[in-house]
C-alpha cells in the first residue's frame, strides 16, 4: 500500500471555493496556502494537522522531549516552501512574517515564522523583514472569547521604520495559519501605508476550515 500522504509541497490559491471560510478576506486578496488544517476533537490524522501541532508547540514546552518535533516541523515547512516557490520569488519578494503575539522580551516569544523563512534558502540572499512588530504581549487568540478584528490588531502593531527601505517589488506576508484572515488584513493595511504601490500577497502554511478546533484545544 502506498504510504500515507505527505505535507503538501505546492501552493493552493484561496479562490471563490474557499474564500468565504476566511471572512475578512476581500476578492482582490491574493492568498495562498500549503495544507488544510481540519482537526476536530478526536479526528486528527492528516500530516498537515500533525505538522501544525508540532510547529505551534508553545515555548513553555521547551524542556520536554517532544520539543525536537518543533525543529523538525520548521524544517519540513521550509522544505515545502522551497518546492512551492521559485527563484524569482526569492529575488523579488520581501517576506514579512506576521509578528508573534508575545513581545520580544517575553519568555514565550516564538519567532518560528522567521526561523522557517531563514531555512528556505539557507546561504542565499533572501529579503526577510520583521517589518511589523507587536511591542506588547497579548493573550494568544485561542485564550480569548472573541477573535480580534483587523482594526484591533492594527492598533497593536508598530512598523519598524529602520526596515522600510529599500522598497521591495512584492510584499509576501507569511503566517502559519489563516483562520478569519484578520491578521493578514491588518498587516496588509499597514504595508499599504508603508509603500502604497507595492503588490501584497499572503502565504500560509495552512488554512483552517471554520469548524476545526484550535491546536491548543488538542493539547489539553
Amino acid at each position: 500500500m502506498t504510504s500515507a500522504s505527505i505535507f503538501p509541497r505546492r501552493l493552493t490559491k484561496i479562490d471563490d471555493l474557499t474564500r468565504s471560510d476566511h471572512s475578512y478576506l476581500a476578492t482582490a486578496d491574493a492568498c495562498y496556502f500549503l495544507g488544510e488544517y481540519t482537526a476536530r476533537k478526536g479526528y486528527a490524522f492528516s500530516p498537515t494537522n500533525h505538522l501544525i501541532f508540532n510547529l505551534k508547540k508553545g515555548m513553555e514546552r521547551r524542556d520536554r522531549p517532544e520539543w525536537r518535533y518543533k525543529g523538525v516541523a520548521i524544517q519540513t515547512v521550509a522544505d515545502a516552501l522551497r518546492s512551492a516557490l521559485n527563484d524569482k520569488a526569492r529575488q523579488n519578494f520581501a517576506f514579512v512574517p506576521v509578528p508573534p503575539s508575545k513581545a520580544k522580551a517575553d519568555p514565550l516569544y516564538d519567532d518560528r515564522l522567521a526561523q522557517v523563512l531563514r531555512a528556505i534558502w539557507p546561504g542565499q540572499e533572501t529579503d526577510i523583514r520583521e517589518l511589523v512588530v507587536q511591542p506588547t504581549s497579548t493573550p494568544a487568540v485561542h485564550d480569548r472569547d472573541d477573535r480580534p478584528t483587523p482594526g484591533e490588531l492594527e492598533a497593536l502593531y508598530v512598523v519598524d521604520q529602520s526596515l522600510v527601505q529599500p522598497k521591495p517589488k512584492v510584499f509576501a506576508v507569511v503566517d502559519d495559519m489563516i483562520t478569519t484572515g484578520a491578521h493578514y488584513v491588518a498587516i496588509r493595511n499597514i504595508l499599504r501605508r508603508v509603500h502604497p504601490d507595492i503588490p501584497i500577497m499572503g502565504i500560509f502554511i495552512a488554512r483552517r476550515v471554520p469548524e476545526a478546533v484550535d491546536v491548543e484545544d488538542f493539547e489539553t
Binding site: M1, G35, F45, P196
Partner: protein, 301 residues
C-alpha cells in the same frame, strides 16, 4: 485598480493551484461521451504533472465551475471541497487504482481519509443474517478504532454506515452519484448526516451525469467501488451474489494490494464460486473477528 490586481506575478501564479479552476476544467474534460476514467487517467499518465487546467481554457473552466456551483447551491450544499492530483491534500493512496481519479468532490471532515479505514460492503438485498453479520463486524472494527467506509447503497452498505454511527464510530461514504444527488432516496437523511458529521466523497462529474442517460450513469457505481478500495487498507465483504457489483471491489482490492476479507458464510453458500476464486488470489476467509484483526494495522492514535 487595487495593487494586487496590477501584480504581474504569472510566474508565481503558475506554481499555485486554484481548486475552483481545476474543478471546472475537470468537468469540461468529462463533457464528452467518449471520456471515461480510463481515457482520462491515460491522458494524465501521458502528461506527467499536468493538471486539468492544462487542457482547458480558463473561460471554459469558469463556465463549468459556475454550472457545478449552481447545481450544488440548488441542492443546498453550501460547503464542499475538491482534491486534485498534484495539489495539496490529494490522497496518494488513490494512485494504486488501475485508473486513478484525478479529482474528487467531498463534503465534511476530510481528515477521516487519513485515519485507518476499512471498507465494509455487500449485497443491496442481504439476508437478515447478512445484516446481523454486518453489524457485528462493524462494531468490532469501530472498537478497534477503524473508520468504516462504505458506498451508501441499500442493504449491507446502509447497515455498515448506521452501525458505525450508532456505536460512536466514524464513517465515510463513497457514493456513485454527484454530491447533489442521492441514491437510493431512502438514504437522503443518512447522506446528509454523513456529509455534516463525517465525510462524503464523490468522483462523479456533475455535468456529465446530468447530460447522459441513467443507464450510462449506473456505471459510476462500480467505479466508485474501485476508489473505495484504494482509499482503505482492507475491504470486508459480508454477502454478495455471483453477479454483484461488490465483486468489482473484491477484484480491485486484490489488484491494489489491499487486504480482502470474505466472511465464512459466503464460502459455505454452495451456489457461490467467487469466494473460492478470490481466496486463491489471496483473499482471507473470516471465521471470527480475530481473522480480520490480526491482518490489520495497529493503532497509532
Amino acid at each position: 485598480m487595487a495593487p494586487e490586481l496590477a501584480l504581474d506575478n504569472r510566474d508565481f501564479e503558475s506554481l499555485a493551484v486554484s481548486p475552483l479552476r481545476e474543478l471546472g476544467a475537470y468537468e469540461a474534460m468529462w463533457d464528452n461521451p467518449g471520456v471515461t476514467f480510463k481515457t482520462l487517467s491515460e491522458k494524465f499518465a501521458a502528461h506527467r504533472g499536468a493538471l486539468p487546467s492544462d487542457f482547458v481554457t480558463t473561460a471554459k473552466a469558469e463556465e463549468y465551475a459556475d454550472f457545478v456551483r449552481e447545481r450544488f447551491r440548488a441542492a443546498h450544499i453550501d460547503r464542499f471541497g475538491v482534491r486534485v492530483n498534484g495539489a495539496g491534500e490529494y490522497p496518494e493512496k488513490l494512485r494504486d487504482a488501475a485508473h486513478p481519479v484525478e479529482l474528487i468532490y467531498y463534503q465534511g471532515w476530510w481528515d477521516l481519509v487519513e485515519s485507518r479505514c476499512v471498507a465494509v460492503v455487500g449485497s443491496r438485498k442481504p439476508s437478515d443474517e447478512g445484516i446481523g453479520r454486518t453489524r457485528r463486524v462493524v462494531r468490532e472494527l469501530v472498537k478497534d478504532g477503524f473508520t468504516i467506509v462504505s458506498g451508501l447503497a441499500a442493504g449491507v452498505d446502509t447497515a455498515a454506515h448506521e452501525t458505525a454511527i450508532e456505536t460512536g464510530g466514524r464513517t465515510v461514504a463513497v457514493i456513485g452519484t454527484p454530491l447533489s444527488h442521492v441514491y437510493p432516496r431512502t438514504n437522503t437523511d443518512l447522506q446528509r448526516k454523513i456529509a455534516r458529521d463525517f465525510l462524503l466523497i464523490s468522483q462523479v462529474p456533475v455535468k456529465r451525469y446530468e447530460n447522459q442517460d441513467y443507464r450510462m450513469n449506473r456505471l459510476f457505481f462500480p467505479e466508485r467501488n474501485v476508489t473505495m478500495s484504494a482509499l482503505t487498507e482492507a475491504t470486508v465483504i459480508v454477502e454478495a451474489s455471483e453477479t454483484s457489483g461488490t465483486l468489482i471491489q473484491a477484484r480491485a482490492a486484490l489488484q491494489q494490494g489491499r487486504k480482502l476479507f470474505i466472511l465464512d458464510s459466503c464460502f459455505r453458500d454452495a451456489r457461490l464460486t467467487w469466494p473460492h476464486r478470490c481466496a486463491e488470489k489471496g483473499a482471507i476467509r473470516v471465521v471470527d473477528y480475530d481473522d480480520i484483526r490480526q491482518h490489520l494495522s495497529q493503532t497509532t492514535h
